[in-house]
């Protein structure tokens, strides 16, 4: 799980152009939106694309994202249970 969390952090930094940020700077338990990384709605859509592109996970209901994208740790847990690649 630790390896997946680290990889996911790298993918998020690249996909969302989080300039000057390293995986170590992201607290895997911190909120991705609002107070945490301060992501916006376009970033949420980009995370949906990231999940499909890298892990073969298609979110049928975008509102699922609210739960799945709570933190990197929650996201990694969901990916580990649902990934198809």
């Amino acid at each position: 799980m630790d390896e997946l969390i680290y990889t996911l952090k790298q993918q998020i930094i690249e996909a969302l152009n989080l300039e000057d940020m390293k995986p170590e700077d992201i607290d895997e338990n911190a909120s991705l939106f609002g107070e945490g990384l301060g992501l916006d709605s376009i970033d949420a859509l980009e995370l949906i694309v990231l999940m499909e592109k890298n892990y073969g996970i298609k979110l049928k209901d975008p509102s699922q994202g609210k739960e799945i994208f709570k933190s990197v740790a929650v996201m990694a847990d969901y990916i580990s249970k649902n990934r198809t690649k």
Binding site: A15, L16, N17, L18, E19, I42, D43, L45, E46, V49, E52, K53
Partner: protein, 182 residues
Amino acid sequence: MLKVYINTETVTVNDKPLVHKEKGAALLTELYRNHIGDYPKFFKMDTLSKLGFVASELLLQAEGKPRFEPREDRAVIFFNKSASLQADTAYQATIQDAENFFPSPAAFVYTLPNIVTGEIAIRNKYFGETSFIVLPDRDPQIMARQLQNAFLDPTTNSILGGWLDCTDENHFEAEIYLLNKS
């Protein structure tokens, strides 16, 4: 008239050269880091928006007036001939391959040239007119006429505007200025 000029190798503020080391897209990032630096959304922008954002910041810093106070009397009006070509190309790359078809929302949102006028208006709390006019070629007469016309409404007293063109990360040019009604 306050004026900022930026191309891939040159930056001037009121005709005075601004010292820099980089060229092309790296130049815009260098200008952001050295002269702005408090707006991480910059890194998510397409090159046209980065160009407009950096040029407008240098222009408004040169103006030297209090920033970020809501106002309706300043319009943002730009012209170019390449519309949002660089962003269009970047987005197209995400949908080109049927086997690797992942449309990027972050790329898609910049596939209109007038997004840069919104970026600048949001940053500065401008609630006046915003326009982006795409011309067959740079035409000073048409541009002057359009800018004069913008002053005809009872609200607009000032315009942040000018030429803002970008074909890719290494080919761009901004010549923007502040105009006042008087």
